[in-house]
């Protein structure tokens, strides 16, 4: 497969994806406002364009399926079918199926798998049912339209209509066609599919001698006579891809003789040659040609030099559809252009390379900053701090380039909620809050699947059936809310339902049954709720095909944790459940707070640092046997880094405590030295460290030394546990790990 072709296919895939998204949006809109003609047109346009493009590539399976959908949409447009929910449901499925088909043909060269084909047949069947008598009726109707045209022509022009009832297509391909990955033969082959090519004449007179030929240019032209029931619009659309490069003239059946004259005149070949071809291919009879050439003479004599478009309009034979399609196309191009001027599409690989470089720049800068400090040259230090500030700004703007709004991800759930609530026979409304909240693209990409699980789970297990809800004097419509906001260096995403809530006792009973916890283990409410994220745990009495298989929620938790995020649950019986996901804004660079224990340096993410206080002598003494202090009347559990990382040296006379906060909980980290803010480029830890809790990554200091980035969420959790007394066992496990 050639690169150009591959690129063109990729382009098709992207285009199809965008079109199908638009189609889905329009269909969902139609559900509420079935009369909205703009939406119907949008859906039609999507199907139509995909069919046309797929045809040029020769993706037969896509074409044959899309064709049926398009035909039905055309009938809706003509108001022969009234759109209803049932039709919308099938069309939504058809849209999904088109995406599957397109992805398959673009990604592999294999034959279409049987399951996709059988889905095609199934959907085609349904679509045809909606169309009633199906294709035949439609064809009949379009012939009627053509008849109308001829009637009009007859009235205007007397009997000057040619007798053939075939389409006549004149193609003169531009020289660049082959180079841009198109081959005239694929157009001919596509025409064969939408009709019968009665005759074709290949014009080779433009082909130069071997001496002069550019073997990669195209010199071919074709005169084609086509028998087809398709509309002019759909025949035109075959050539959408090459319209700019080529001269294309399409004459409908029973066109005016003058149309042919026009054709003969406007094409580059000698008039007589063309005339002969037309006669030979039985487009024109001898007599018709003779008349035509006579008229042509008159026109030439009178020096009429009308532009093609005007002539067509004057003659009144251009299909309305063709004109409106052209206008639509122009508008689409225009609005695309204005978008382009506002934004630039950049390959994400390039963006990643930039972020990487900025990361290196940050490290290099901190090294030169260190040297400047040692030199004690105030001017050098000043110059360096200016550079540092600029580097910081560059870092921020580079990271912002990767930020995208979460709204697109959220909006996908409109469809999910709609489909699932129908499947379940529930009435559920989705509300989205904070769609404009931004987060790193790499995080957005990975959050989709876990969110999907959570949303489905809430709908399936959380929200009750309408009857049940009414019995509980709740509104019959269930509410599901997706919420996003920023909170101290993290983004918080909440999935909130107003369903039946989690039953602590039921959860514990189930967990005991499954052997996840021991019979008389005492759990707090929080801990009990967290049981739903345990592997092999499922509370649904019956397994549905949506959720309830006990796989999923534990995968969700693991996915979130691999993004350095956390997940927690709040719930009240009868009122609802909130699942809260907390994720770091970015995965690449953070502002760090550098602390030291003996010779080693540690980095705490600055967003989580609240304050630094000195560990007073009194607290020091008392803290030898307990791990919390009194911070302005508040109990603050803490952890000694010295102990945690087994620094064996003498403790220094003055220790400091860094107060950190995560997910609403505070804890202290006791360190020897506070070294200040530090821009930290996160270098991921190797696989062997993946089981290590308390550490989230490493970084390189300006001096070239390695510093460990502390995982504050794990430390806070550990400190709170220590406070409740289960310190010993945990510390041991950490110690064992850190010594390796």
């Amino acid at each position: 497969m050639s690169d150009e072709m591959e690129a063109a296919k990729q382009g098709f895939q992207v285009e199809a994806e965008e079109l199908l998204e638009e189609m889905e949006e329009a269909l969902l809109h139609l559900e509420n406002e079935p009369d909205d003609m703009d939406s119907v047109n949008a859906v039609f346009r999507a199907a139509h364009t995909i069919k046309g493009t797929a045809g040029v590539f020769g993706f037969d399976d896509v074409v044959s399926f899309t064709h049926v959908a398009e035909s039905m949409l055309d009938m809706i447009r003509d108001e022969e079918i009234v759109i209803n929910d049932e039709i919308i449901a099938v069309l939504l499925k058809s849209g999904d199926h088109m995406a599957d088909l397109v992805n398959h043909v673009v990604e592999t060269d294999d034959a279409m798998p049987a399951e996709l084909l059988s889905t095609s047949d199934e959907l085609i069947n349904k679509l045809e049912q909606f169309m009633g008598k199906g294709e035949k009726q439609k064809t009949g109707q379009s012939i009627e339209i053509k008849d109308d045209d001829s009637v009009k022509i007859n009235r205007d022009q007397g009997a000057d209509v040619v007798s053939t009832d075939n389409w006549h297509i004149s193609l003169r391909f531009g020289p660049e066609v082959l180079k841009s990955g198109m081959d005239p033969q694929s157009f001919l082959r596509y025409l064969q599919r939408i009709g019968t090519i009665v005759s074709v004449t290949t014009l080779v007179d433009k082909i130069p001698s071997l001496e002069e030929i550019d073997p990669e240019d195209c010199y071919l032209g074709f005169e084609i006579s086509l028998a087809s029931d398709e509309s002019k619009e759909s025949i035109e659309s075959v050539f959408d891809f090459v319209r700019d490069d080529c001269q294309i003239r399409i004459l409908p059946p029973n066109s005016l003789i003058s149309e042919y004259i026009d054709l003969i005149q406007n094409l580059p070949e000698e008039d007589c040659l063309l005339g002969e071809i037309l006669v030979k291919t039985k487009v024109l009879t001898d007599k018709e040609l003779k008349n035509a050439l006579d008229v042509q003479q008159v026109i030439t004599d009178s020096g009429s030099d009308q532009p093609l478009g005007e002539m067509l309009v004057d003659a009144g034979v251009v299909d309305k559809d063709v004109v409106s399609a052209a206008v639509e196309k122009q508008q689409a191009v225009r609005s695309k252009k204005s978008n382009q001027s506002r934004s630039v599409r950049v390959d994400s690989v390039k963006l990643d390379a930039l972020i990487n470089l900025v990361g290196e720049l940050v490290i290099a800068n901190s090294s030169s900053f260190l040297l400047a400090e040692r030199s004690e040259n105030p001017e050098l230090m000043e110059a360096n701090s200016i550079t540092a500030r600029l580097v910081e700004e560059i870092r921020d703007s580079a990271l912002r380039l990767r930020m995208v709004q979460i709204g697109d991800t959220f909006n996908r759930f409109q469809r999910v909620v709609r489909d699932v609530s129908r499947d379940l026979g529930k009435d559920i409304e989705l509300t989205i809050v904070g769609a404009e909240t931004e987060l790193d693209k790499s995080v957005v990409e990975k959050i989709g699947d876990p969110l999907m699980h959570l949303v489905r789970n809430s709908m399936d297990h959380g929200i009750e059936s309408p009857e049940e809800r009414q019995n509980k004097s709740k509104s019959a419509t269930g509410n599901l809310k997706l919420c996003a906001y920023h909170d101290s260096g993290s983004i918080v995403i909440e999935v909130i339902d107003d369903g039946k809530g989690l039953d602590k006792d039921k959860l514990i009973k189930k967990a005991v049954e499954k052997g996840i916890i021991k019979e008389n283990q005492v759990l707090t409410e929080q801990e009990a709720f967290r049981l739903i994220f345990e592997a092999g745990f499922s509370t649904a009495a019956e397994v549905t095909n949506l959720s309830g298989r006990g796989v999923g929620m534990d995968v969700v938790r693991r996915n979130i944790e691999s993004l350095r995020g956390t997940i927690d649950v709040e719930s009240e019986i009868g009122v609802g459940t909130t699942i809260r996901i907390r994720l770091p804004l970015t995965l690449a660079i953070i502002d760090g707070f550098l602390v030291g224990v003996e010779e080693a340096s540690y980095v705490i993410p600055l967003d989580m640092v609240i304050e630094c206080v000195e560990l007073s002598e009194e607290d020091r003494m008392s803290s030898l046997d307990r791990n919390y202090i009194n911070l302005r009347g508040e109990v603050l559990p803490f952890i000694r880094l010295r102990e945690m990382f087994q620094h064996t040296g003498e403790s220094v006379s003055r220790e400091n405590i860094v107060v950190v906060q995560y997910a609403g909980k505070k804890a202290g980290i006791v360190v020897d030295e506070l070294m200040g803010e530090f821009q930290t480029v996160i270098k991921p830890l190797g696989k062997i460290f993946s089981q290590l809790s308390g550490i989230s990554g490493s970084t390189i200091l300006g001096s070239g030394e390695v510093a460990v980035i502390l995982d504050v969420s794990a430390l806070v959790a550990r400190a709170s546990e220590a406070e409740t007394g289960s310190m010993l066992t945990n510390t041991e496990s950490v110690l064992q790990l850190t010594t390796h």
Partner: protein, 97 residues
């Protein structure tokens, strides 16, 4: 010395090979003898290939030489058929099963 120049097209005749095929044809033409082109190995042909076939035929007849294309592969036959150019070339085509 035979009085014909034999050309064996080694593989495809698409836009990617067009440059090479053109060189092959020009070299053959330079020998000023009738030309016999074996198309049996052409597993893929596109419009660029057809154009070169036309061009060679034209150039040869200007020099009063003849060109015969023979042993058409299925792909060549298919394209000639699509473009309705079989009679244009007028070469005998052997239809295989």
């Amino acid at each position: 010395m035979s009085n014909e120049t034999e050309i064996d097209i080694p593989g495809d005749m698409t836009i990617y090979e067009a440059g090479e095929v053109r060189d092959l044809f020009m070299n053959a033409l330079a020998e000023k003898k009738d030309i016999n082109v074996n198309l049996s190995n052409v597993s893929e042909i596109d419009s660029a290939g057809i154009q070169l076939m036309v061009s060679l035929k034209n150039d040869a007849s200007e020099n009063d030489l003849s060109v015969q294309y023979r042993s058409h592969s299925q792909s060549v036959i298919g394209l000639l058929d699509l473009f309705d150019m079989t009679s244009y070339f007028g070469d005998p085509i052997v239809l295989e099963k």
